[in-house]
Assembly symmetry: C2
Homo-oligomer: 349 residues x 2
């Protein structure tokens, strides 16, 4: 905890001078001022994060954290839990949606096992398994406090390593059957909203099963009594290993002043924990898309983040984040490649 | 007109069998059914347009139609009219936003002079000039009926040629100082809405100038009395050459069963004319983004089109359309590259 605290305290502010310089450059380009809307907003945010007037994107990396959830014993998911390792293998073999979209947008994927309930053999899997899945939160805490801290630390290390290997843009991805349940629980604890507001269909459960999932989450909160003023307590009692790992990844991004693109519902649950640990981490987050999952908008509103894309995705994996890469690439290329009014000989107003 | 009528009558329906086959394939891919939201919608629409279960995108082409507007004499734009040829040269030299975004998304640009008020010398400019700008619509019709038909015919020919050269996806782009005025006039005529609802800031005029622009448009409608039941009458009286050309491009896309991505306010004005000429053209349109320009949403609602992106753009050129290319590419790659539950050995529900 002491080490984490030091890292959190080291997180800085956005570079206002770089942001002003970036804005000034944007205003000289051959277009009405501000007419590229969201792209200009991204450029300025990226400048603030990186301290570069023209932020350069050389390597984009999506980190997919995977883990299992003991709460699947309660029958809260549409898919059986063996789908977690099956889909991770699919990622490693290049056949999932995240692979297709990453190839399209020229970005890398790192797959991390933080707590899958079985062992996967694959040369590209990063094995940082903390346990074989969480415990069933309806009956007990999902993990110990030490395990939660270890998973966060792992996420920070993975961010450090990715940055060391040249990554200039990170994105969050995840796989874990049952993880919308953990994410809804986290949202419920921090906002004190009713589970009727925070719990959704996940990968596609029926309205009856949603009712059951709400009850399971309420039971888990009642039994564990997570303390919303202690984010590690919330994470360990109703979270998941992949969520904790992503919390670490986000903190690691902020520590390294590298922008981190936040995917959907589960990734944003991790962002909530990071924000509660240190509010400044929020400035390093780029919100990608609004998921179809109930509760995602509540999370984004709580964080004060505005998603760029509304694609009705409800898949996770990092798919929404990777679709935002094209916008981020565009924001960088605009700064680099567009002519100015002067250089192109175009009259101003 | 007779030739145009024959082309309009030849436009077919969406291929329902290809759409059903595409949907069925999507449902076998390793993701919860429908979880890729808008991407799946695009895949199915593209299948319906092309008749291919897995629509292939080999070449994407944005056609930028450029022309000047006599109504700029009334002082309705933030930029002087010499910006039209200056920006067209910028397009031809690769320095504009549309160039940057087209390079990013691996798409081609065709620049067509349909009515610029001066002559531009550039080897890549397609010179199909009909006149040196329209007349001032506040005083008389913008163009003759014959000129409007000629511009539409030119657009159809350019679509034909692009398709013959391998284009599998068309997009609309435009440049023409004063063309939001013409577009607002077209919207006003078809919807009978007050100019207070249909007229916006264009490239960035003051609230006072917006009031003046509203008056100019109302005067133009009062004087010319365009007949909303005769789209060619509307186009010739209050339209523009580039708008007419884009109407033709959209009709040409439908004729060739090639999807056409509709950019912002001006492009959608052209789509309105195409739709009024033949409602089936709408099925071949893919709406890219919602512009910041007042009135764009009114047009899209009138057409029943739903934009994919909300990027607060107000630039035109085709920039919003080209940003949608990444989504369209993704929808095609998903169909081509994703593993099925069976091939990846992933358990279903």
């Amino acid at each position: 905890m002491k080490e984490l605290k030091m890292i959190l305290e080291s997180i800085g502010e956005l570079d206002q001078a770089a942001m002003a310089n970036c804005k000034s450059h944007l205003d000289q380009l051959t277009k009405p001022q501000g007419s590229l809307g969201v792209l200009e907003d991204i450029s300025i945010t990226m400048a603030g994060i990186t301290g570069q007037e023209k932020p350069v994107l050389t390597k984009k990396t999506t980190v997919i954290m995977a883990a299992d959830h003991g709460v699947t014993d309660e029958g809260i998911s549409a898919f059986p839990k063996e789908v977690t390792p099956q889909m991770v293998l699919n990622f490693l073999n290049g056949g999932a949606a995240i692979n297709v979209l990453s190839r399209l947008n020229h970005s890398d994927i790192l797959c991390v096992d933080l707590g899958i309930a079985s062992d996967i053999e694959h040369p590209n899997l990063i094995n940082r398994k903390i346990a074989y899945g969480t415990k069933n939160m309806r009956l007990q805490a999902s993990m110990t406090r030490e395990e939660a801290l270890k998973a966060i630390k792992t996420g920070i290390e993975i961010a450090d390593e990715a940055v060391k290997s040249g990554t200039t843009l990170l994105a969050t991805g995840e796989m874990g059957i049952g993880n919308t349940t953990a994410s809804s629980a986290i949202l419920t604890v921090f906002t004190d909203l009713l589970v009727e507001k925070t719990v959704g269909a996940g990968t596609g459960i029926s309205p009856e099963t949603i009712g059951h999932k709400q009850k399971v989450i309420q039971d888990a909160i009642n039994r564990n009594q997570p303390d919303k003023n202690d984010p590690i307590d919330v994470l360990s009692k109703v979270g998941g290993f992949e969520i904790a790992g992503l919390t670490g990844l986000i903190i690691g991004a902020a520590k390294n002043r590298v922008p981190v693109v936040i995917d959907g519902f589960i990734s944003t649950a991790a962002a909530l924990i990071a924000y509660e640990l240190e509010a400044k981490t929020r400035d390093f987050m780029i919100s990608s898309h609004l998921s179809e999952e109930t509760g995602h908008k509540l999370m984004l509103d709580y964080l004060g983040l505005k998603p760029m894309l509304h694609l009705n995705f409800r898949l996770g994996e990092g798919t929404g984040a990777v679709m935002a890469f094209n916008l981020i690439d565009a924001s960088s290329r605009i700064l680099e490649e567009m002519a100015t009014f002067e250089s192109a000989g175009v009259s101003t107003k």
